[in-house]
């Protein structure tokens, strides 16, 4: 098992990964409350970025509506908890299939009727917007007035019901990110990974090589949406409140795709690195601005814009492909 996991990874990369993982595991011991919330955000974006990357980076299908799957996961698990007292891990069994079905619906509409490229991206935005408006009027989830999860103070950490301290959420998201990384790596190394890359590179040539492109694109959307919905469940139980205007908003979808773009689309380490760079720098910026007493609304968004611009101009493949060459670690499929 261990041998299979490390198969084809250079010694240098293994050492680096082990050090990073050790640092990540030890981080809550040293990090203050504020830094911990930043790290939670970082791993949240690393995880959803990894999930989004399956569709865009591997299979070449641009989704600009991944907030849909975050929202469906969040609302399903939260509503089950609020109405029936069903915990999030059981709620996952409902939330994940619902998000996967939504993904399958978007995929079927697009791939069956040959909607691709920009039009596919617009379709993903449209479906997420439908969900936003729909949830605004869905009384079962309290519509636009928001769904609130009951919070018990000082009740200790309850991993089963996901009620507890930020440290617990940190470890849940760290675990999810590690598992997503390993899962994506084994997908990419498998038959389906090769087929996805072929579809991304040239769909017509992929079909000529015998690949049922409809089927493999569907698999990519379903896996990606199912994975994303898990992040939604964590989101709901971490923030304890959900508003359609926030959860399903297009800016949420855009946030999801920034980390993989900055880190390197189609790479395994790109989404993680991108999340560290973007969230790390943006939070440093806002806290520095706050410390010197400057109140600039929207400074973070402007900063994201500048980062994106710089990366696209200087390193269009993302930071990781460049960095990995500098430190002598190569990742397949770059």
């Amino acid at each position: 098992m261990i041998a299979r996991l490390t198969d084809g990874v250079s010694g240098r990369a293994l050492v680096l990964l082990a050090m990073l993982l050790a640092a990540a595991i030890a981080a809550p011991l040293f990090a203050g409350d504020y830094l911990l919330t930043v790290l939670i955000l970082i791993f949240y974006f690393a995880y959803v970025g990894q999930a989004w990357n399956i569709m865009m980076g591997f299979a070449g299908q641009l989704s600009l509506g991944h907030a849909l799957y975050v929202g469906l996961g969040a609302y399903t698990a939260a509503a089950l908890y609020v109405h029936f007292g069903i915990g999030p891990w059981i709620g996952l069994l409902v939330a994940v299939p619902i998000a996967a079905l939504a993904g399958a619906f978007v995929g079927f509409l697009a791939f069956r009727f040959k909607v691709s490229g920009v039009y596919f991206a617009i379709l993903t935005i449209a479906v997420a917007e439908f969900a936003r408006v729909g949830f605004d009027h869905l009384s079962w989830t309290a519509g636009s007035s928001g769904l609130f999860l009951p919070v018990k103070r000082n009740a200790g950490n309850d991993l089963w019901l996901l009620r507890g301290s930020p440290t617990m959420f940190y470890y849940v998201l760290l675990t999810a990110t590690v598992l997503a990384f390993l899962g994506c790596r084994s997908l990419l190394k498998s038959r389906i990974g090769y087929f996805w890359l072929a579809i991304r590179e040239d769909e017509q040539a992929a079909r000529a090589a015998g690949i049922d492109t409809f089927r493999y694109k569907m698999v990519a959307v379903v896996i990606s949406s199912a994975m994303t919905s898990f992040a939604g469940v964590i989101y709901a139980f971490y923030y304890n409140n959900l508003f359609p205007e926030q959860v399903f908003h297009i800016s949420r979808s855009i946030e999801i795709i920034l980390a993989p773009i900055v880190g390197g689309i189609g790479t395994l380490f790109g989404p993680v690195l991108g999340a560290f760079i973007l969230t790390g720098l943006a939070e440093t910026l806002t806290s520095t601005l706050a410390a010197v007493g400057i109140d600039l609304p929207g400074a973070k968004q402007v900063f994201y814009g500048i980062c994106l611009l710089l990366v696209i101009m200087a390193l269009p493949d993302g930071v990781w492909p460049w960095l990995s060459r500098r430190i002598g670690i190569k990742e397949r499929g770059q």
Partner: protein, 242 residues
């Protein structure tokens, strides 16, 4: 020899234009069959109908005793027809090896088996030493051979080659001819090629079909076809006869 591919009275119209007009021919198993003709004669349209890019308006295409007209390109490939594109389309960001592994995975579920097969194919196509390069970094002759390698890796019974010699220098053409001949001789692979380079056609083909305005104007042994007055008049021109 029995017919592996039978094209029976197929036609294809694009709006008013008749691209292929009631065309019939047979490709026998183990043969190398060349389709020649001037630009716009309907050669690529014919290829696209066989490969499943679009269905003929009428007629039937039968491959290994099974109707294949109207199937999609991936279904056609899975039944044993590999193809190349006139304008090469390798997967640019993937390595040469990974390009061929994609083809090899069609009938293999494990990547390691597919890699072993891909490396065999790359050796055959003289690309083994370049297996770690990105496809986008290859020269045109190498990319053309990569296209053949990827198609070959899908284990086809019939290989469709759409102008694989175009743009190659004479030495490169001879190299490709030698590779294809060897493949045909050693593995019994049936080849159907569209070609303008008569040097390659004469060296390879066991049978030639000449298309003009979507219809066959001659078919037969290479030596007989190039002496056919209709062929000389419409395509070859008197001075081109080798």
């Amino acid at each position: 020899m029995s017919a592996l591919l039978t094209v029976d009275n197929i036609s294809k119209r694009f709006r008013g234009l008749v691209a292929v007009d009631r065309l019939s021919f047979e490709v026998s198993e183990g043969g190398i069959f060349a389709v020649i003709g001037p630009n716009g004669a309907g050669k690529t349209t014919l290829f696209n109908m066989i490969a499943g890019v679009f269905a003929p308006d009428n007629g039937a295409i039968t491959f290994a005793s099974e109707r294949i007209d109207g199937l999609s390109p991936d279904q056609v490939c899975r039944r044993g027809i590999g193809r190349t594109f006139q304008i090469v389309r390798p997967f640019p960001a993937l390595t040469v090896e990974d390009n061929v592994i994609v083809g090899a995975l069609l009938h293999r579920s494990h990547v390691n088996d597919a890699r072993a097969h891909a490396l065999d194919v790359l050796r055959r196509l003289d690309l083994y030493d370049k297996r770690a390069q990105r496809a986008s970094a290859l020269t045109l002759p190498d990319r053309k051979r990569l296209e053949v390698a990827r198609a070959l890796a899908t284990d086809p019974k019939l290989l469709l080659l759409d102008e694989v010699m175009a743009g190659l220098r004479p030495t490169e053409t001879d190299r490709m001819v030698a590779i294809l001949k060897e493949l045909n001789r050693e593995t019994g692979l049936t080849i159907l090629l569209i070609e303008h380079v008569m040097r390659a056609v004469m060296a390879l083909a066991s049978r030639i079909l000449v298309l003009h305005h979507g219809a066959a104007i001659a078919e037969g042994e290479p030596s007989a076809v190039v002496r056919d007055p209709a062929v000389i008049h419409s395509y070859l021109g008197a001075e081109d006869i080798a």
